[in-house]
C-alpha cells in the first residue's frame, strides 16, 4: 500500500485550486502522478470514504475530500463507520497507533 501517496494526493487537492479543477475535469490525469494501488485508486474514484479511512488516511485530509465530494458532515462520519464495518479496523497511520 502507498498511504503516503494517497494522503499526498488529498493534501494537494485540499490546498491547490488548480489541482482540484484538473481533478474534476480529468481525474485520471491527476491520479497518474501518484503511485497508487488498485484498491487505493478504487477508493478515491468511487469515492469510498470508509475504505480511505480504513487504509489510514488522516481525517484532517479526508474530511475535506469528503466535503469536496459533497458529503454532509453526518454522512462523512457514517461513511467511516460503515467502512470499518465493511473493511475491518484501520490498517495503518495514526489511528492504528494503539490498536484500539
Amino acid at each position: 500500500m502507498s498511504l503516503y501517496y494517497v494522503q499526498k494526493l488529498l493534501y494537494q487537492l485540499n490546498r491547490d485550486a488548480a489541482t482540484r479543477a484538473q481533478f474534476t475535469e480529468d481525474m485520471d490525469s491527476v491520479l497518474a502522478g501518484y503511485a497508487l494501488t488498485e484498491e487505493e485508486l478504487t477508493a478515491i474514484r468511487m469515492p469510498d470514504i470508509g475504505l480511505l479511512y480504513v487504509l489510514g488516511v488522516n481525517g484532517q485530509l479526508l474530511m475535506h475530500y469528503a466535503a469536496l465530494k459533497q458529503f454532509e458532515w453526518e454522512d462523512y462520519l457514517q461513511a467511516m463507520r460503515d467502512g470499518v464495518a465493511e473493511h475491518g479496523p484501520v490498517r495503518a497511520g495514526i489511528y492504528a497507533m494503539t490498536g484500539e
Partner: protein
C-alpha cells in the same frame, strides 16, 4: 517590550462551520470567552499577534515536516478550506516580516526553527482570528508545531520553544501578544468525532493554569492518544504558552464540552510577569 498577553483557545472548524448546531447557551459562553480575550489583547496594546497553531496539512506535509515553523510573510491567506464549509470568508491577513525575521533569528539561538514566507491559514488559525482580530487589522505571525504527522515534536521541546519565543518577544521593541490554539481532548474528523474527555481536559487545564511544568511534560503520546484522542496531541501549543510564561499562573475563562464542535471548547489566559 515584555510580552503583553498570553492565552490559549480552541480552533475547531465546527465552532464557525457548524455554529448554528451548537447548544446556544454554551456557544454564547464560548463567544463571550473569545470576546473577553479579544478585548484583553486590545487593552494590552499589542502591536502584533503570534498565533501558535497545530495546522492540519495545509502547508506542511510528510515530505518535509518541520518540528517548528515561524511565518515570515508580508501577507498570508485563509481559510484554505471552503468558505461556506468553515463559515469564514477568505481574506488576506497582514504579516510583519521584519518582526518575524527578528523573532526567528533570536529563537534560532535555542531552537532549530524552520521559517516560511508563504502560508495558507487553515481553520487552526482562522477560527481564532475570526474572534480575536475580526477586522484582520493586527499583523499576525503564524507559528506551527507538528502535532499531526508522527514523529511529533516532543513536549519538552515545545516547552523550550516557548521559553525561546518569550526571550525573542521580550527583546523586540514591539508589544507582542501570543495565543496558542489546539485541543484539548478530541477525536476530530474520525468516527469518534464529538467524543470529549472532560475529566482529562479539566485535569490538563489545572496543570496548565498552575504552570506545573513536570506534570505538563509527563504525558506520553500513547497516553494522550488513548485518553484524549489524536486531537489531544495539540496540547503542544498550550505547553509552548506555558513555557513562555514559566513561573506564572493563569485562569480559565471558558471551558465546556460542545460535541457538535467536536472539542472541549476552551478559552484561557496566562499572566505575563
Amino acid at each position: 517590550m515584555p510580552m503583553v498577553f498570553a492565552g490559549v483557545c480552541s480552533h475547531a472548524p465546527g465552532i464557525t462551520g457548524r455554529a448554528e448546531r451548537g447548544d446556544p447557551v454554551l456557544r454564547d459562553g464560548l463567544c463571550k470567552g473569545f470576546e473577553r480575550m479579544r478585548q484583553a489583547i486590545e487593552d494590552s496594546g499589542a502591536e502584533a499577534l503570534v498565533v501558535i497553531g497545530a495546522e492540519h496539512f495545509a502547508n506542511f506535509f510528510m515530505n518535509n515536516m518541520p518540528a517548528f515553523c515561524i511565518g515570515m510573510g508580508e501577507t498570508y491567506t485563509g481559510p484554505i478550506e471552503d468558505d461556506a464549509w468553515l463559515g469564514i470568508k477568505r481574506t488576506d491577513i497582514l504579516g510583519s516580516p521584519d518582526l518575524s525575521k527578528r523573532l526567528i533569528t533570536n529563537v534560532m539561538n535555542e531552537i532549530d526553527v524552520a521559517y516560511a514566507e508563504e502560508w495558507q491559514f487553515d481553520h487552526g488559525i482562522m477560527v481564532p482570528l475570526h474572534f480575536l482580530t475580526p477586522r484582520y487589522d493586527m499583523p499576525v505571525i503564524p507559528v506551527n508545531i507538528n502535532c499531526q504527522g508522527p514523529p511529533l515534536t516532543p513536549l519538552h521541546r515545545a516547552w523550550k520553544f516557548g521559553k525561546a519565543l518569550r526571550v525573542a518577544c521580550d527583546a523586540a521593541p514591539e508589544k507582542i501578544a501570543i495565543v496558542g490554539t489546539g485541543g484539548i481532548s478530541h477525536w476530530p474528523a474520525t468516527p469518534d468525532s464529538g467524543k470529549i474527555n472532560e475529566e482529562w481536559d479539566r485535569n490538563f487545564l489545572d496543570r496548565f493554569v498552575n504552570n506545573r511544568r513536570r506534570e505538563l511534560l509527563s504525558y506520553t503520546d500513547e497516553e494522550i492518544y488513548r485518553e484524549a484522542g489524536q486531537g489531544g496531541f495539540e496540547i503542544r501549543t498550550f505547553i509552548t504558552v506555558a513555557g513562555a510564561t514559566e513561573g506564572a499562573t493563569g485562569e480559565v475563562w471558558f471551558y465546556a464540552p460542545i460535541p457538535i464542535f467536536a472539542v472541549g471548547c476552551t478559552v484561557a489566559m496566562m499572566n505575563v510577569v
